[in-house]
Amino acid sequence: MISERLHKIICSTLGLQEDEVEIKDDTLANQVPGWDSLNHVNVITAIEKDFAVRFKSIEVLKCKNVGDLQKLVDSKINK
């Protein structure tokens, strides 16, 4: 399940209000308004900053949906 914190960071980076976008485990990045390939790096950087973690590009690349990204965040903060 997508945490409130991750949802908030994504919306804030993309200039969206939290209640206007539903983000679920199987949501793909490009289904979220404004989350395009050029903006992707900004979303990832914002997540890294907020959670004080560091992702390798290859780890992010292997995330197929937001659920995978949540798992990646969890794996980093549980280390």
Partner: protein, 578 residues
């Protein structure tokens, strides 16, 4: 290390076969996937597999001159499949694999529009698209007769007769027969199909390969999509027909992890690559230091900027950031070209620093070239796109297509040995741009000391990250969004220095009045853009009757863009992106 010499070949297939015979074990293509061992095609393996595909395609009913659209993700079998189509005289055309955000109806609508001119006969794709495409093909709404899934085939069970038949067909292909179909620009139904013959491709490989001074140790690395002329011709056909290696990276992987280009280049000792301008900014700004550490860029001899306006600042950023990884001086280069001349028209020569001119912007707008001096109020840096490659000509013309003198700015008209014969099934469009052997490009530029400078475009086309987009395509879809006043929408390209490209902006009239309503409408506009796979960056909402109309009664893009960018109108609602 020796310079590539281009011997005569009757067709592209004969060229590939000759290289495979001479250098069977040389790597033709290295198919790169992040985090995995690359898949390596030698020239021998590649042509043998391509032959197997030819035979299977023949058995499936594909015949000479059939236009075969390939819609496929990054896959190692793409290359022999493409060649296999060529090997039975059919005509391959690469189309973009639909992004998940693209609405299936819009995808089908785009395909349907495309078939009108391109006359697609067959779709060659992968099983994931079966449910989307099969009903469309079976409905008979288009010219498409058949849909094939070659990744599911067993290539080892064809009959001897089929092999013989495929060989016979191949020997009857003439140099003037069509080799490929590529689309020059546009997003959906507005794409213009350019058909090029075997001869045009062979000529282009010789003229451009010579200009680049290709030698047998060169290796091309690329993440460029193969539906784009720079990826298809520059990074796939040119190396393949020159007997050198290309390393192919997945476009989608590269955009998420831009260091993949350097990683692949460093591991494989790549010497050449082509990039659109935005990639210079993206790589300089977004590659984390710890990921690039250890990469060695010393093998690069040319990194060539093309496909969108070339920005001096992007080159500066790139050089500053990556020089410490052994990037040689004068590695950065430039190209000007278009699908209509196969790919290249001009090229900055190897090892030559790129010329830049500081000119008077005001004079430039008036159609005159004047170098800036201390009295110049507004200056502009223009970056050279190099000198003409062999067997090409260029002239600068006015609105009536009269040739202008040396210091004038005007439309660029070109001739080339590898010029196309016209847009397929579109004599009206062909007549507009092709006259007396000259192709009128619609690009605006000038020539200074034999070098070509491209400074803008005659038409309102938007170039976002190297991709040409017609504003009409975007306006059509935004016009359907509730609360937008019908026909009162303008789309335009807005320079974004940080990204090093133009981003797409919308100005639309609405009767809504509150900030909350504006925000919701902005979201709907962005979603409408997503439905045609277009990223809308800036949304400007304005009250009724705000937009100025042109004499044709439609909102004037240029005038309204200038009013928006002037930024002094309090009635404009705009929410800045983070």
């Amino acid at each position: 290390m020796s310079r590539i010499e281009y011997a005569y070949s009757k067709t592209m297939w004969h060229r590939w076969a000759a290289i495979a015979e001479k250098f069977p074990e040389k790597e033709a293509i290295v198919h790169w996937v992040a985090g995995e061992e690359p898949i390596r095609w030698t020239y021998k393996n590649l042509i043998e597999t391509a032959n197997n595909f030819s035979v299977k395609l023949y058995e499936q009913g594909i015949r000479a001159k059939d236009v075969c659209a390939i819609i496929m993700k990054h896959n190692p079998y793409f290359y022999p499949m493409y060649m296999g189509i060529v090997g039975i005289g059919a005509i391959p055309s690469v189309l973009a694999f639909p992004n998940p955000r693209l609405h299936p109806d819009k995808f089908k609508q785009g395909l349907s529009g495309m078939t009108k001119y391109s006359g697609l006969d067959v779709i060659i794709t992968q099983i994931d698209l079966e449910s989307t495409l099969k009903p469309f093909v079976e409905s008979g709404e288009s010219t498409i007769k058949q849909i094939l899934f070659p990744l599911e085939w067993d290539l080892n069970n064809s009959s001897v007769d089929s092999f013989e038949k495929a060989r016979e067909i191949r020997e009857n292909i003439k140099p003037t027969d069509s080799f490929l179909l590529q689309h020059s620009s546009g997003t959906t139904g507005l794409q213009k199909p350019v058909v090029l013959s075997h001869q045009a491709l062979l000529d282009h490989v010789t003229q451009y390969g010579t200009a680049l001074e290709l030698d047998d140790s060169d290796k091309v690395v690329s993440w460029l999509p193969l539906y784009h002329d720079m990826g298809l011709i520059g990074a796939f056909q040119l190396p393949l027909a020159s007997g050198i290696t290309s390393i192919q990276i997945d476009t989608f992987e590269w955009i998420l992890a831009p260091n993949l280009l350097f990683e692949a280049a460093s591991d494989e000792n790549a010497t050449m690559c082509w990039l659109p301008n935005f990639a210079y900014n993206l790589m300089a700004d977004k590659i984390p230091e710890d990921e690039i550490a250890g990469n060695d860029l010393s093998n690069f001899r040319m990194i060539i900027n093309a496909s969108e306006p070339i920005r001096s600042e992007s080159h500066r950023k790139f050089t500053e950031r990556f020089s410490k990884y052994n990037l040689k001086p004068n590695v950065l280069s430039t190209l000007y070209g278009m699908a209509e001349v196969t790919l290249a028209l001009s090229q900055n020569p190897p090892n030559k620093p790129i010329s830049e001119l500081i000119v008077d912007r005001q004079k430039l707008a008036e159609g005159k070239l004047q170098l800036a001096d201390n009295s110049t109020k507004v200056k502009r840096v223009c970056v050279s796109s190099g000198i003409l490659i062999p067997d090409t000509e260029l002239k600068i013309v006015d609105e009536n297509r009269n040739e202008l003198d040396g210091n004038s700015v005007g439309e660029i008209a070109v001739k080339s040995i590898s010029l196309f014969d016209g847009y397929k099934n579109n004599p009206e469009k062909t007549k507009e741009v092709l006259f007396d052997g000259w192709y009128y490009s619609g690009d605006i530029g000038f020539v200074y000391q034999n070098e070509i400078y491209v400074i803008g475009r005659k038409k309102d086309i938007i170039i976002f990250a190297g991709k040409n987009i017609y504003p009409e395509d975007i306006e059509d879809v935004i016009n359907q969004v509730p609360n937008i006043i019908q026909g009162r929408v303008v789309a335009f390209g807005e320079e974004n220095e940080e990204l090093g490209t133009e981003v797409i902006s919308i100005v639309a009239e609405t009767n809504l009045t509150s900030g909350q309503e504006f925000h919701k409408l902005k979201l709907e506009i962005i979603k409408a853009g997503m439905s045609i796979d277009v990223n809308i960056y800036n949304v400007y909402l304005v009250p009724p009757r705000w937009l100025i109309k042109s004499s044709s009664g439609k909102p004037a893009r240029k005038t309204n863009k200038e009013r928006i960018l002037a930024g002094n109108d309090k009635t404009i609602w705009f929410e800045k992106r983070n």
